[in-house]
């Protein structure tokens, strides 16, 4: 028995590496006097790198591991990779942020790693109890992250808000899980799924709805999104990058697994729920973004709207059609990180400007940075030849193939609406003149080379996947078939 568990553990080397890196990072932060804070960051980044390597070397397995609690199938591995990419991008951008902001809390690095361990096990979870436990493991550090600058009023508010609403939604989710157990007497997805299909339909639907509320909250689907704009606006930008990408990827994975295995008998019902959620999320996110003046808040609504497109793909049920979802999750992680990254691009006298002023005339001060941001924006709108277009294309194709033509049409309409606010940034960069800095607190304006490189890499990736989407699509399809 022990040896079996031991060999099962071999499928989770990436998580073990991350956990070890988190501990190491904590020790570096606590005990290295000079430069310990940044050192903690380097250790965390190295940990992610090693975990990524371990992930590549981990063969997918279709077996139920740890007595059916976890699986390390190719589906899980795909999402683990997405989480690692999100974590790496946010930590790299965090370095830049803390260079300027000076006050660098070293805790963020290992808290982020702990949260990632939670997410990576959550995407593997095939059991009600494990699902809940892993969910809390990734949620609790993220509450702390949101409020890490506790002396700043907005950040403290963000942390508290996220914490209260988050625990509430976890409780609701737990109730749903308990109902599933009550109806079936099973905790494993594989056994509970068929039992649930034969159970009392109404009770099962209630259980499913409650379970979904918890997930929808974490993914910031409308109408469970209220926390997101405030938290994203209040929290430090690199942490927003983390909070708006990695948890969403993990939640989508849990959702897909639950829909396919646990609630496989209720396809029509969850498809309907997700159609409604998709419509509400896209329209609300995009229309609210139109009215924002702060770039950061606008991007917060944009990330809500982007999740709405994902919901279209989720609603278009069925095996290989979810390839679109997997594809778009990765694309979303890259483009959303880059989008928030543009806030860190221009340092205006020792602080980051969250209005659009810093970006005006950027194309003449830094053409490469402006071109990269342009590609990211085109991808967010969904204009070819970018990955954002291909992702949306796959999502809408899946919907049309399932007869959800109007849902696809709504998605397309929303893409067009989103042009209007995304291109405020494009307009500012290319069509407007630089606004000279007022007598600010200190220092001149500068464009960060490091952020520029990150953005350029993201832009290049988005272009490459836009021209040759098969590079990622084939992996996404394989991940679904391996399930």
């Amino acid at each position: 028995m022990m040896s079996a568990a031991g060999s099962d553990l071999g499928h989770f080397v990436p998580e073990i590496v991350l956990l070890a890196a988190a501990v190491a990072s904590m020790f570096v932060h606590l005990f290295v006097k000079k430069g310990g804070r940044r050192g903690a960051g380097y250790v965390a980044l190295a940990g992610i790198g090693v975990a990524g390597l371990a992930l590549v070397l981990t063969p997918p397995s279709a077996d139920a591991l740890f007595g059916g609690h976890l699986m390390a199938d190719s589906f899980a591995l795909f999402f683990k990779a997405a989480v690692l990419v999100a974590g790496a991008l946010s930590i790299v951008l965090a370095f830049r942020f803390f260079n300027v902001e000076k006050n660098e809390p070293g805790e963020v690095y290992y808290l982020a790693l702990l949260s990632m361990v939670g997410m990576m096990t959550a995407v593997s979870a095939t059991d009600l109890v494990t699902t809940y436990v892993t969910f809390e493991l990734f949620a609790i550090p993220s509450y702390v992250l949101a409020g890490i600058f506790k002396k700043e009023r907005r950040a403290a508010e963000a942390g508290i808000k996220y914490f209260f609403l988050g625990t509430l939604s976890s409780a609701v989710m737990l109730l749903g899980l308990a109902l599933v157990f009550g109806l079936t007497g099973e905790t494993g997805y594989a056994a509970a799924g068929p039992a649930l299909a034969g159970a009392n339909g109404l009770a099962a639907l209630v259980a499913m709805s409650l379970f979904f509320v918890g997930l929808f909250f974490k993914a910031a689907f409308v109408p469970f999104h209220m926390w997101a704009p405030d938290v994203y606006e209040g929290a430090a930008t690199p942490l927003v990058i983390f909070l708006s990408t990695a948890p969403k990827a993990a939640v989508i994975a849990v959702l897909v697994r639950a829909m396919a295995v646990l609630f496989g008998g209720y396809i029509r019902e969850w498809s309907f729920i997700l159609q409604a959620v998709a419509l509400a999320t896209m329209f609300w996110g995009n229309l609210a973004a139109l009215t924002q003046t702060s770039v950061k808040r606008m991007l917060a609504y944009s990330s809500i709207a982007q999740a709405g497109y994902l919901a279209i793909g989720l609603a278009s049920w069925g095996g290989s059609d979810w390839m679109a979802v997997l594809f778009y999750v990765v694309v979303y992680v890259v483009m959303n990180s880059a989008a928030f990254g543009l806030i860190l691009l221009v340092d205006r006298g020792g602080r980051f400007d969250e209005t659009i002023d810093g970006l005006r005339g950027l194309s003449r001060r830094s053409p490469v940075a402006a071109a990269s941001v342009l590609v990211v924006l085109l991808s967010l709108v969904g204009i070819p030849p970018t990955a954002g277009f291909m992702g949306k294309y796959f999502l809408f194709t899946a919907a049309v193939d399932r007869g959800l033509i109007l849902l696809a049409a709504a998605g397309a309409l929303n893409s067009a609406i989103s042009l209007f606010y995304y291109f405020r940034i494009g307009k500012a960069m290319f069509l407007e003149e630089t606004v000279p800095l007022d007598a600010g607190p200190a220092g001149p304006e500068s464009v960060s080379g490091a952020v520029m490189v990150v953005l350029a890499v993201c832009a290049a990736a988005l272009l490459l996947l836009g021209l040759l989407p098969s590079l990622l699509a084939s992996r996404a399809s394989a991940a679904l078939l391996g399930q």
Partner: protein, 499 residues
């Protein structure tokens, strides 16, 4: 046929991108080198498109020089290019007008040269790709690629209200194209392919009601681009604010993309819906003809006048397409080329005078013919070409459209003919007010006539205007078979009816 190891259609599609990369890596301070490079690349591109002729079989109505590669296996999209007579003429028009537009920008564009030529070259790839792509997804990709550079051309180098005009153009056309995207998705789910040739071969597999919806979706995409009444409101803004080269390409090529879309996709792929909606389309086309002409009569700004005249002329083309007779459709295709030549030239003509005087108000001018005789002659030829004077290109196209439409409805023909009369009115009146009379405004005393470079930009357009006007046969031969093929699909009744 290969150029540098690349199949010719791929080469002509992506050669401008190569030029773009070269310009991108030239230092921004070397303005002259950038200009020379851009002109060489657009010139070579025109030469390369002419090379297609050497392998083109004008007697065939099928797609030729087809290139086919797998692209996205998961959804069956292919990299599929091909050319028939219709595409051929439009590709030649595109490469010629882009070359002319580039040449005309030598003096006119001053700031941010590098970006300007980068966007211009990227635009050319998008346009050529639109006319060559036979895979609907690939077509959509090229269709959208066109938007971004045009947005910047208007927004950066445009006139005073350029920001407004640029975003209006972008938003309007994007709304249309996402509707078209949904239509493409539905077509794909019904046909299980994006391949245009396969779709045509399979015939109409869509049920009638669904055809109607897809037709509507395509209609939004194409009609906004054409632009058809009542979706034309972006056009005057975009044209007036765009720099001269932008206007030339906008009127000369971009509007044709909409008409081309109707002809290539809506008609043969959705024949039932096309027949059902043809009368409605014709009514919209007639509205555009008359409305555009009437509004042109009232304009004080030369550029705006020509912009509204485009609305009227594009109405003619749409009428020709939706008469669903081979004669009218051939006239419409020829008229696409003619409109590109004459309106492109007219925008250049306005550009010449705007560069000298920085105003386009008609009232500022008068009696210019005494100071600028060569200019006056060029202007006269193009005015006559736009009106449709026999012996010049416009006449042939309009005449064929009217003749082809007459067999369907004499009323449509009569209304369209009033558009010609009104057209003669506003164009001649414009010419009279600008060119004739006494030279009263002292600012016009020292105006310089056309320079050699400027005349060179007009020369190919002048030659084509006379060539098509006097000997249109080669042009008509090329489009004959492909157009017949499409009309045979969409309106087989025409061929069965006793003559």
């Amino acid at each position: 046929m290969n150029i540098f190891g690349m199949p010719i259609l791929t080469f002509v599609t992506f050669f401008p991108v190569a030029g773009m990369l070269v310009v991108l890596f030239l230092p921004g301070s070397r303005g002259k080198a950038i200009k020379i490079a851009a002109n060489i690349f657009t010139g070579l591109e025109f030469a390369a498109t002419l090379l297609i002729l050497s392998r083109f079989d004008a007697a065939s109505g099928d797609m030729q020089l087809v290139e086919r590669l797998p692209w996205i296996k998961a959804i069956g999209a292919q990299y599929l290019l091909g050319v028939d007579g219709i595409s051929l003429l439009l590709v030649l028009l595109t490469s010629l007008l882009t070359f002319v537009a580039t040449l005309s920008s030598w003096q006119a564009v001053r700031g941010r040269l590098k970006e300007y030529y980068v966007f211009l070259l990227l635009l050319e790839t998008g346009m050529v790709g639109v006319f060559l792509a036979l895979d609907l997804l690939l077509f959509y990709v090229f269709w959208e690629i066109v938007l971004v550079p045009m947005y910047f051309l208007i927004g950066i180098w445009g006139g005073e209200r350029r920001l407004y005009a640029a975003i209006k153009f972008f938003l309007y056309t994007l709304f249309g194209s996402v509707a078209m995207l949904v239509g493409i998705l539905v077509l794909r789910s019904q046909h299980q392919t994006f391949d245009w040739t396969a779709m045509v071969a399979a015939g109409s597999v869509l049920p009638g009601v669904l055809q109607g919806w897809v037709f509507l979706a395509f209609f939004l995409g194409f009609a906004i681009k054409v632009p058809m009444f009542p979706f034309h409101t972006w056009l005057p803004d975009a044209h007036v604010e765009a720099p001269t080269a932008g206007s030339v390409i906008l009127a000369g090529v971009l509007l044709k993309m909409g008409a081309y879309g109707f002809l290539r996709f809506s008609l043969p792929l959705l024949p039932e819906a096309a027949r059902r909606y043809a009368p409605a389309m014709a009514v919209l086309a007639l509205a555009a003809i008359v409305y555009g002409a009437l509004v042109s009569l009232m304009q004080k700004d030369m550029k705006k006048l020509i912009a509204y005249s485009s609305v009227s002329h594009m109405g003619f083309i749409m009428l020709g397409l939706f008469a669903l007779t081979p004669m009218a459709a051939k006239g419409a295709v020829l008229q696409m080329v003619n409109h590109g030549i004459s309106t492109g030239a007219l925008f250049l003509i306005v550009g010449v005078i705007y560069e000298r005087r920085h105003t386009r108000l008609i009232a500022e001018f008068g009696g210019l013919s005494s100071r600028m005789p060569v200019y006056a002659a060029v202007f006269l030829v193009m005015t006559m070409s736009s009106i449709g004077l026999p012996g010049l290109n416009g006449f042939i196209g309009e005449f064929m459209i009217l003749m082809g439409t007459f067999s369907v409805s004499w009323l449509w023909t009569a209304i369209a003919a009033t558009g010609i009369v009104l057209g003669a009115g506003y164009m001649l009146w414009l010419y009279q007010r600008v060119m004739f009379g006494k030279l009263t405004n002292p600012a016009n005393e020292s105006l310089q006539d056309l320079t050699v470079r400027e005349f060179a930009t007009f020369l190919p357009l002048l030659i084509l205007a006379f060539w098509i006007g006097i000997f249109p046969k080669p042009f008509l031969t090329v489009i004959d078979k492909p157009v017949e093929k499409i009309i045979r699909i969409v309106n087989p009744a025409h061929y069965e009816a006793p003559r």
